[in-house]
């Protein structure tokens, strides 16, 4: 359905709701949580609740960036959590290759490039696998990525032999807990990935192509868009983002936990994308997804600081997601506009 408003206007409107929700949560904290907005500089580094929220949200933000593009092509990537586990497991194994055999000595310190490159190659391959299933064989995305979601965690456990591989590797740990220009390094990674994605999709035709595929893949193929290649690369990109997120988590806790790394984060990422205003198959906004992640994380932090059991966060998450999804639903809006006695003119 095309609304009779300008595209630009529509895009602004799309991010407006999430921004208002975020502002609402922050406003609540301004009044009820003392010191929430307090940011101090220690040793040239920023500290404070806001920085903490962004830092904690970094892995999910990366997932959400990849997921946004996948969502826009009308797909979904359920395997990101498992890919995170694989990437962390590979990184830890590269650092301590003999750990799973029970040898506790370190051997040579592995060069940081190797520690980063090999896990990312694995995540790229995982993304490629998803992409091949979806783009070439034509399996529904939910199911195609379900395979890796089930098997991927098994593969990660196979790599670590079911153990939690702990390690010490100063340069690698910097990725999870280092600071650059006073900002935690994960935030810097997110900023870089976001800028690169934004430039690639909005300053070139790629973004429009992705949206065209999501809206109607057959029509876009007839238009001359290389639909398969783009779908394939979108899944590879999502895999890479997940691999990067896995590295951050792994470097932060200085261990690879194949069982729990990235568990359920695919749901957070999907929730963030939906809250951010990206439609399933069609228009997307990467910025909105970042805001969506921030909403979820600040909600979680708010609940924690108010002393409510952290597990109950799930209920709040559920309520927020369903409300946002309802607001975006065409039928729900119609229901309301009819109640208000107005009739919306629609071109469909």
């Amino acid at each position: 359905m095309v609304e009779a408003k300008g595209l630009k206007n529509n895009n602004v409107q799309r991010v407006l709701w999430p921004l208002m929700a975020l502002a609402g949560i922050l406003l609540f904290n301004l009044f009820f949580t003392p010191g929430f907005f307090h940011i101090e500089i220690k040793d040239g580094r920023f500290f404070g609740s806001l920085i903490d929220i962004a830092n904690r949200a970094a892995p999910v933000m990366l997932l959400a960036i990849g997921m946004t593009l996948v969502f826009a092509t009308g797909g979904v990537d359920l395997s990101v959590g498992a890919i995170m586990a694989i990437s962390g497991a590979v990184a830890a194994t590269v650092i301590r290759p003999d750990y799973v055999k029970g040898i506790l000595e370190y051997g040579d310190v592995q060069p940081i490039l190797l520690v980063l490159a090999i896990p990312l190659i694995f995540s790229l391959l995982a993304g490629l696998w998803n992409g091949l299933l979806v783009a070439l064989i034509g399996i529904q995305p939910i199911i195609a990525t379900l395979i890796l979601m089930v098997a991927g965690r098994g593969i990660a456990q196979l790599i670590t032999q079911g153990q939690i591989v702990v390690f010490i590797h100063e340069p690698f740990q910097y990725i999870g807990s280092g600071f650059l220009f006073g900002l935690p390094f994960p935030i810097v990674i997110v900023l870089l990935t976001f800028s690169a994605t934004h430039l690639l999709t909005r300053k070139t035709g790629l973004g429009l192509f992705i949206e065209a595929i999501g809206a109607n893949s057959v029509a876009s193929r007839f238009m001359g868009i290389q639909e398969r290649l783009i779908t394939l690369s979108v899944y590879i990109f999502s895999g890479l983002c997940a691999g990067l997120a896995g590295l951050i988590v792994c470097a932060d806790i200085k261990a690879a936990d194949a069982n729990n790394a990235g568990l359920f984060l695919e749901l957070d990422a999907i929730a963030a994308v939906i809250i951010g205003g990206t439609m399933w198959g069609g228009r997307f906004t990467v910025f909105g997804s970042i805001i969506g992640t921030l909403i979820i994380q600040s909600l979680t932090t708010t609940i924690l600081t108010r002393g409510v059991a952290p597990e109950v966060t799930l209920v709040f998450k559920a309520v927020v997601i369903i409300l946002v999804a309802l607001i975006q639903s065409e039928r729900f809006r119609q229901l309301f506009s009819r109640r208000m006695g107005r009739r919306k003119v629609q071109i469909s």
């Binding site: 979904v76 064989i137 034509g138 399996i139 529904q140 939910i142 199911i143 195609a144 379900l146 395979i147 890796l148 979601m149 089930v150 098997a151 991927g152 965690r153 098994g154 593969i155 456990q157 196979l158 032999q161 079911g162 194949a258 568990l263 749901l267 999907i270 929730a271 939906i274 399933w280 059991a309 597990e311 109950v312 966060t313 799930l314 209920v315 709040f316 998450k317 559920a318 309520v319 997601i321 369903i322 999804a325 309802l326 639903s329 065409e330 039928r331 729900f332």
Partner: protein, 322 residues
Amino acid sequence: MRLRVNQKHIPMFATIAVFLLIYLAGSVMYSNFFSLRVFTNLFIDNAFVGVIAIGMTFVIISGGIDLSVGSVVAFTGVLAAKLMHDYDVHPMLAFSICLTLGALFGMVMGSLIHFFELPPFLVTLVGMFLARGLAFLVSLNALPIKHPLVDSIIDFGIPLGFRTWLPATAIVFIAVTLVGVYLQHYTRFGRNTYALGSSEQSAVLMGLPVGRTKILVYTFNGLLSALAGVVYSLYTSSGYPLACVGLELDVIAAVVIGGTLLSGGAGYVVGTLIGVLILGLIQTFITFQGTLSSWWTKIVIGILLFVFILLQRYLSAAGVKR
């Protein structure tokens, strides 16, 4: 008369073949694998998976998906335990409350999907968060279930000979399967789910009650998830809010391996039954093998899923060409 295999049946034949193959391999490789005890254990250990898988078969045939099942199992299990443990509610009343809540939960999700045209996976994803959160609200810890009636239900069993018993949970599983077969093949509701999954638009044009069927399918699945929660709490004699994390994937895998087309419109409850048994068989196989670790279960299930999805894809592509 020429022997013709209906194309719809091919995935199910493949499922049966895989089941027999694994069973045969296990029987040849390990003594005691081919025994009544192992076979009945398949039904006992997978009763709660099987009960949901029957409901999920209907959901997937109708063209939808339900991700909330694992959380609903945990929620109903922990709620039943809480009611009995802390409030001394009679077990039958507690179980009835759980079943009603489960059905209501499914109905609300179905209504959201139908009336607001939200994608099923989104709505049920929210349902998954919500049910898990509610389970935590009820109790953060595992609660024991102790009641004379519950104990007698757990101890109840039909003797099958060879010192094996068919306990109540397995009986529930088999009963639900029979009800599923009846609903699918002998009622309008069953026919309507097929029509809905094949083409929703055609179903609307044919004047079928699309909305009612859709909501009923999710209500039925919610009810069965709650029933599975009760079965699970009987199986473990406790309620645990973190139970059955990721169960929905096992269930979907069982349904797909059972030959149900994920695009909807084709599949059988009987196939799902065999799919569930295959998952159980893989686990039994790995237990018998002894040296293989538990993660191989996940990898093997993943590979099986892949093979069956490829088969489905090939079949539906062949169907289009004809």
